[in-house]
Subunit: 200 residues, 2 copies
């Protein structure tokens, strides 16, 4: 059985969202599974000195245009969130908490969180919105609300994010196939070649 | 006659080099010409606060790997220059000086400069190397040597670079089609769609 693909992403990342709409089908076409691994770009940016795209002169305005155009190019629904970017720590904690209970459901939940932020304009920095999305999957609101403040859940999330950065993850999406790192939605073509024919 | 494509690039930019090997054929396939416009990334980086990729933690090592892999992916010869990145002001000045004399020859010269840096490991920051490449096109060494110190040539180059940054150019390659900006070798697919079917 080939090793799963590691898919690192931040729930507030437009290119992470776009990749999330393609990565499973791409992997499945080559008999691979995908390990969804939310991270926090703010932590990664501290390691690289990077800043969120919208804050950068010239690059900021270009990026806002490119998010929308890239979504149209790939035929993926996209609505620029009103509040952007946002901290996605509640979303990441909720994901890892649910993953420990039901891995498959956690992936469905991740998809729903991405859709909520990038098509429904639901602000994911608010725990109550994360809880609302989880409720669609039968997750008890009070239980998840308590989990978001559980030190063990906080620690698990921190461990995951720190391990990602220690591994070299500095952006979103950041995809690792057979130990080979690929950064960006733009590298899905190279990933496809790798899955088809192996290292190049 | 459709408007030409503006192709902004720095002679020290790996992705600019990769794009330079594809842009003319892509444009010609859709009846377009390409306006080659060397810039200086150092000037653009001052506007955005960006730094050369190799200097960045995590992103630097990734990029060095991605340059080579992307070249292999696209089937383009590539040798990582020993000294990288370098100031390409002499190359840019030589280009604009030659362009005023022979536009077509200036493009051939630009291609040769890129090949010299990325396949022959010739350090383009040294004026004598730029002059050596120009000599392959019958350019007189003494004449170009004098031109590189000519205030008018310096001013022309500065004007071109400043105008590019004023227009929003912040990276390399940065390609403008019908007023629409595309940043990166990764956007050649979107450019192709645009040239084929118009705005999307």
């Amino acid at each position: 059985m080939p090793t799963p693909i590691d898919f690192y992403f931040d729930f507030s990342s437009p290119y992470g969202y776009l990749a999330s709409r393609r990565i499973d089908a791409l992997a499945a076409a080559h008999g691979r599974e995908v390990n969804w691994r939310p991270i926090l770009l703010g932590v990664a940016f501290k390691a690289t000195g990077a800043a969120p795209l919208p804050q950068l002169p010239l690059k900021g305005p270009y990026s806002m245009r490119d998010f929308l155009r890239s979504a149209r190019f790939h035929g993926i629904p996209y609505r620029q969130p009103t509040t952007f970017p946002v901290s996605t720590i509640a979303a990441a904690r909720a994901f890892y908490w649910l993953q420990a209970r039901d891995r498959a459901k956690a992936v469905e939940f991740a998809r729903a969180l991405y859709n909520a932020y990038f098509t429904e304009d639901l602000d994911l920095s608010k725990p109550e919105n994360v809880i609302q999305v989880a409720a669609r999957f039968g997750v008890d609101a009070a239980e998840l609300g308590a989990a978001l403040n559980d030190p063990a859940v906080k620690e698990k999330t921190k461990t995951e994010v720190d391990a990602a950065v220690a591994r070299g993850v500095f952006g979103s999406p950041y995809i690792v196939v057979d130990g080979e790192p690929f950064w960006g939605m733009d590298r899905l073509d190279q990933i496809e070649r790798w899955l088809e024919k192996g290292p190049f």
